[in-house]
């Protein structure tokens, strides 16, 4: 029986090869794209799942209900971890965690490494097994260093790393450390990444901060006893907060903070480490978390594309079913049972799906490289062989076979035997189902077109919006680890003094956007002014900062070496001026730092976007405080020969630091890098929209071919009666175009809702214009019309005698 089914299925598929090829193409593309997408999503959700005690590890963060809104922060004060472990018995292990880069010296070689500063509990909580040394003893000494297998290989080659001494430069001080452990190289889906683990006591500023509850510099992770319910943490920890955060509570109350539903104005809370990869809500987290929007949009688009391909399948099978009605009738008279017929048609579906799946997977292997590049995905085809993924592919295959194959088969089986034998069904009516499915396809396609246009508009807006500083002619040079920034700046100033293309040179603690060094810093300070807490971002700068960056000075002047007092002065932005509540602020003294003289405002600058356009411009204070390192050197060059200027500056840098890498980038490159995730999302939308439209049009093309076959005689009669080509093309197209129009209109509210939601995450955003909807609709209509025209024009110009003679 099966052999018979297969034989007949093959002959039928061959007979309808044009349609089946379209079917297979559409499905194969969908399978390829879904496989890549679902692997990526699986990978994103697999982050950190190798930690055995993942479910009992939490990150501590605080929630301050400030008058202007809720503010969450995961930066913790240095004494907090120890106090929490001592006073809250549910905590089993606790560790602080902070990281910086550092230069590791061994023998003659110096290597830049990623250093994590943690407490000894770290190795007991997280699953980083040691291949050399023991987890319990590895961080027991202050001078212990634990390194990864990769770092060991890089530093020591094939030599044993254990008990070797390394020199590590932290904050420009070189100290010896003893390697007491080597951890197995962690997988790529680890949020926590490091080359070297050192005791937290070596974290920069540790000694200054070790008793301070006010300075918050690092993350804290805790593992709780088994069966602990994290929901009770915030309420149970209240006495602890009252005891240690009295200052915060007092200030918040004074500033008019509004208590939350539980009556807290300042509280500690727990974020599960299992969600760490998607946690971008609480401030600093381990690794580069991503927004859940990203995998969710991927899944949605993957499902859309699969659905669209399945719809093609259903529509084509149903349409072809009409031509096979007689066969069904004959088989029924010969005694075929319902299930026998269902099985026969299903075998055909399975063959088509199987071919599509195989071709789809082959396509995957061809496309994976480009896919990984575009979507920054870390998947590999080897992942496909994992049992979970094999099961997934089989399930996807079965789902497609069931969805796409069952309905058409059922429909054919239901034909009334007598009617089909009389040829009553083969005429074929358009059918509500076909129309509904076409509408669904084009709703999804138009939706993706609209999303594409709007993300693209927003991204181009982000790139082109003036930010209030010169981003095209200013080069930002990250200062190497192990080099004092202030020295580097002084040397570069001298070096570039006679360089004709250089306009001015300055330096600062924070960069603009994201530089080639990949780090980002921010420093927020609160102080009491006129009996109220004022919070401001703090940027430590050097002379000529305002001039180098072309920031507009509104009042006063910029830091000037000729004025002695300027090194203790500050320059504020408009937002800060507003926060301080006044005009004519130049000359005012602010009590900004405890234990330091009041700082005098010497200038006010126009607001500029020192952070990404996701955020409004916050109050900002520029200082020349020496407490903050100069991490970036800014060089403004003359417009024109930017490439030449770059090379010039590069060779100057290498003259000063022959061994240091030159990681300089123009500021507009840095600001662009802030919107990588937006670009990625837009990439997803574009690819999704293109695929959705292509697959929908393949389906539409096949349906129009079928329709022309079915209406061949009608077309002939109309021509004989005097219809012209245009009239016939319009007649054949208009039913479909109406459906596409309905589909487009249905997509509007969804598109509007989704995109306005997305745009909410930007403080600066484009408006959604009506013409975007009109344009998308027009695009969908034109594409649909062109697709149908292939067939309808051919049918319309054909000789009517031919179609009529066949009767």
């Amino acid at each position: 029986m099966i052999k018979n089914y297969l034989k007949i299925a093959w002959r039928n598929l061959w007979k309808g090869r044009v349609f089946n090829l379209m079917n297979i193409t559409g499905l194969a593309v969908a399978v390829a794209c879904c496989t890549l997408i679902f692997l990526t999503v699986y990978y994103e959700f697999s982050y950190d799942n190798f930690h055995e005690k993942l479910d009992s590890i939490y990150q501590v963060y605080n929630v301050a209900n400030r008058p202007k809104g809720v503010e969450k922060s995961s930066s913790m004060p240095t004494p907090m971890a120890a106090a929490l472990k001592a006073e809250y018995p549910a905590v089993k292990y606790i560790t602080r965690s902070g990281n910086t880069g550092g230069v590791v010296t061994y023998g003659n070689q110096k290597i830049n490494e990623d250093i994590h500063f943690v407490d000894p509990d770290f190795l007991k909580m997280f699953t980083f097994p040691l291949v050399q040394g023991s987890s319990n003893a590895a961080l027991s000494q202050l001078n212990s260093a634990v390194i990864t297998e990769e770092a060991a290989k890089k530093i020591f080659g094939n030599k044993s790393a254990l008990n070797q001494t390394l020199l590590i430069n932290i904050e420009n001080r070189e100290q010896p450390f003893l390697v007491t452990g080597v951890v197995k190289q962690y997988p790529a889906n680890s949020s926590i990444t490091f080359d070297v683990l050192l005791r937290f006591e070596h974290f920069p500023q540790y000694n200054a901060d070790k008793d301070s509850w006010g300075n918050r510099t690092h993350m804290v992770f805790a593992e709780f006893n088994e069966g602990y319910d994290p929901a009770i943490f915030t309420q149970q920890i209240k006495p602890f907060v009252n005891k240690y955060y009295a200052e915060d509570l007092k200030n918040l109350k004074r500033d008019g903070a509004k208590p939350d539903a539980n009556g807290n104005i300042f509280s500690l809370a727990l974020a599960p480490f299992a969600d760490n990869h998607f946690n971008n809500d609480i401030g600093i987290v381990e690794g580069n978390g991503i927004s859940k929007t990203y995998p969710i949009s991927l899944v949605v688009i993957g499902c859309f594309i699969l659905l669209i391909a399945c719809i093609n399948f259903i529509n084509l099978s149903v349409a072809r079913g009409f031509t096979r009605a007689r066969e069904v009738g004959v088989r029924k008279t010969l005694g075929a049972g319902k299930w026998q017929l269902l099985a026969q048609f299903w075998v055909e579906t399975i063959l088509v799906c199987l071919a599509s799946t195989i071709i789809g997977l082959l396509l995957c292997t061809l496309l994976i490289k480009q896919f990984k590049a575009i979507f920054k995905s870390k998947i590999s085809l080897g992942m496909l062989l994992e049992p979970a993924h094999l099961t997934g592919i089989i399930l996807m295959f079965l789902a497609v076979t069931a969805i796409a194959g069952f309905y058409p088969a059922l429909m054919m089986v239901r034909y009334k035997t007598v009617a089909v034998l009389k040829g009553k069904i083969s005429g074929g009516k358009p059918g509500k189902l076909r129309n509904t499915l076409l509408v669904i396809q084009f709703t999804l396609s138009t939706l993706l077109i609209i999303c594409t246009i709007i993300t693209w508009q927003q991204i181009s807006f982000l790139s082109n919006k003036p930010l209030g500083y010169n981003k095209t002619e200013v080069l930002s040079i990250p200062v190497d680890q192990g080099t004092r920034g202030a020295d580097a700046l002084r040397l570069m100033r001298n070096e570039l003094r006679n360089n004709a293309s250089v306009v001015s040179v300055s330096g600062a603690y924070m960069n603009f956007g994201r530089g080639n060094d990949g780090s980002s810093r921010r420093s927020v300070l609160g102080f009491i002014y006129n009996d109220r807490e004022v919070r401001t971002h703090l940027q430590s700068v050097d002379y000529d900062y305002v001039k180098t960056l072309d920031i507009k000075l509104l009042e006063g002047r910029e830091f000037d070496p000729n004025f002695k007092g300027d090194s203790t002065g500050i320059i504020i932005n408009e937002s800060m001026a507003r926060e301080l509540g006044g005009k004519n602020l130049v000359g005012t003294f602010l009590p900004m730092l405890d234990g330091k003289p009041k700082a005098q405002i010497i200038g006010v600058v126009k607001n500029f976007n020192f952070e990404s356009l996701h955020d409004d411009i916050a109050p900002l204070t520029l200082t020349m405080l020496k407490d903050f390192e100069i991490n970036y050197i800014f060089v403004k060059v003359k417009p024109g020969n930017l490439v030449g200027a770059y090379d010039n500056i590069k060779s100057s840098w290498h003259r000063l630091y022959p061994n240091a890498t030159f990681l300089a980038s123009w500021l507009n490159e840095n600001t662009e890098r802030q919107y990588l995730s937006e670009r990625r999302l837009s990439g997803i939308f574009v690819s999704g929209a293109v695929l959705a439209i292509i697959i929908s049009c393949i389906g539409l093309l096949a349906i129009s071919i079928m329709m022309v076959i079915q209406r061949n005689k009608e077309i002939g009669i109309r021509k004989v009666l005097g219809a012209n080509v245009f009239g016939i093309v319009m007649m054949l197209s208009q039913d479909f175009l109406k459906l596409v129009l309905v589909a487009a209109i249905l997509s509007f509210p969804v598109a509007w809702w989704v995109m306005s939601h997305w745009l909410q995450s930007f403080a600066y955003r484009v408006d959604i214009h009506w013409w975007v909807f009109a344009l998308s609709t027009a695009l969908a209509l034109i594409l649909a019309f062109v697709t149908i025209s292939f067939q309808s024009i051919r049918a319309a110009i054909a000789n009517p005698v031919k179609s009529l003679r066949s009767e």
Binding site: I8, R11, V330, R331, T333, L334, G335, Q340
Partner: protein
């Protein structure tokens, strides 16, 4: 073999109800060769479809070998059909995707005959219909007469007790038509009951009895000598 009593069938559209069979009574004995004649629209094909269990009657009784089958469900009807009834159509209704051999084999597949027996029986019947040499051809490669012989081969391969033929010569020229009628007569002589719908007085003369229908009921029955 067949006894129908007060058989009724209506066709309804939104505005009109057409009576196709109007309290029709008819009895057909085993081994008979009956021709059903009448003008277009008199209910001949409807009757044949009901007799072949392809369609339900709206009223009356249909006894097949003494069993009431008028209200059998789809499964039971399919079962009865495949074991007892063979069909021959005016337009042959062969499946284009299957070869001659496979078309004839199909009813045996549906009745679950094993592969070796199938081969033997199909070859037997193809030889009898003198079409064996065309066994690997597809229907569109055959002449009309050959196609109808294949269709008859398919109808008889299961050794049905009853053959229902709907204008079996309608699409054939007279010499091919006569050949088909000879084949049916042979089958009848070997014991198969045959009911044939036809417009042709010539063909009707091959039968034992002519049932003439008008507006859904029997007007006259001629016994052939």
């Amino acid at each position: 073999m067949i006894k129908i009593t007060n058989l009724e069938k209506f066709y309804r559209t939104e505005e009109v109800e057409t009576v196709a069979l109007n309290k029709l009574n008819l009895e057909i004995n085993t081994g008979e060769f009956v021709a059903i004649m009448g003008p277009s629209g008199c209910g001949k094909s409807t009757l044949l479809n009901i007799l072949g269990l392809l369609d339900d009657p709206d009223g009356g009784s249909y006894l097949f070998n003494g069993t009431e089958v008028a209200h059998f469900n789809e499964r039971k009807r399919a079962d009865l059909r495949k074991h007892n009834i063979g069909f021959v159509f005016q337009s042959f209704n062969l499946i284009d995707e299957l070869t001659v051999f496979e078309n004839v084999e199909l009813p045996l597949i549906y009745t679950g005959v094993n592969s070796a027996d199938r081969k033997q029986r199909v070859e037997e019947v193809l030889t009898k219909m003198q079409i064996m040499h065309r066994r690997n051809h597809y229907p569109q490669q055959l002449s009309g007469g050959q196609q109808q012989r294949v269709a008859i081969a398919r109808a008889v391969v299961n050794k049905p007790k009853l053959i229902l033929a709907d204008e079996p010569t309608g699409n054939l020229d007279s010499s091919n038509g006569n050949e088909v009628m000879e084949l049916l007569t042979d089958l009848n002589e070997q014991g198969t009951t045959i009911i044939m719908v036809t417009h042709s007085e010539h063909d009707a003369r091959y039968s034992h009895r002519i049932v003439r229908l008008l507006d859904g009921h029997t007007v006259v029955e001629n016994i052939m000598m």
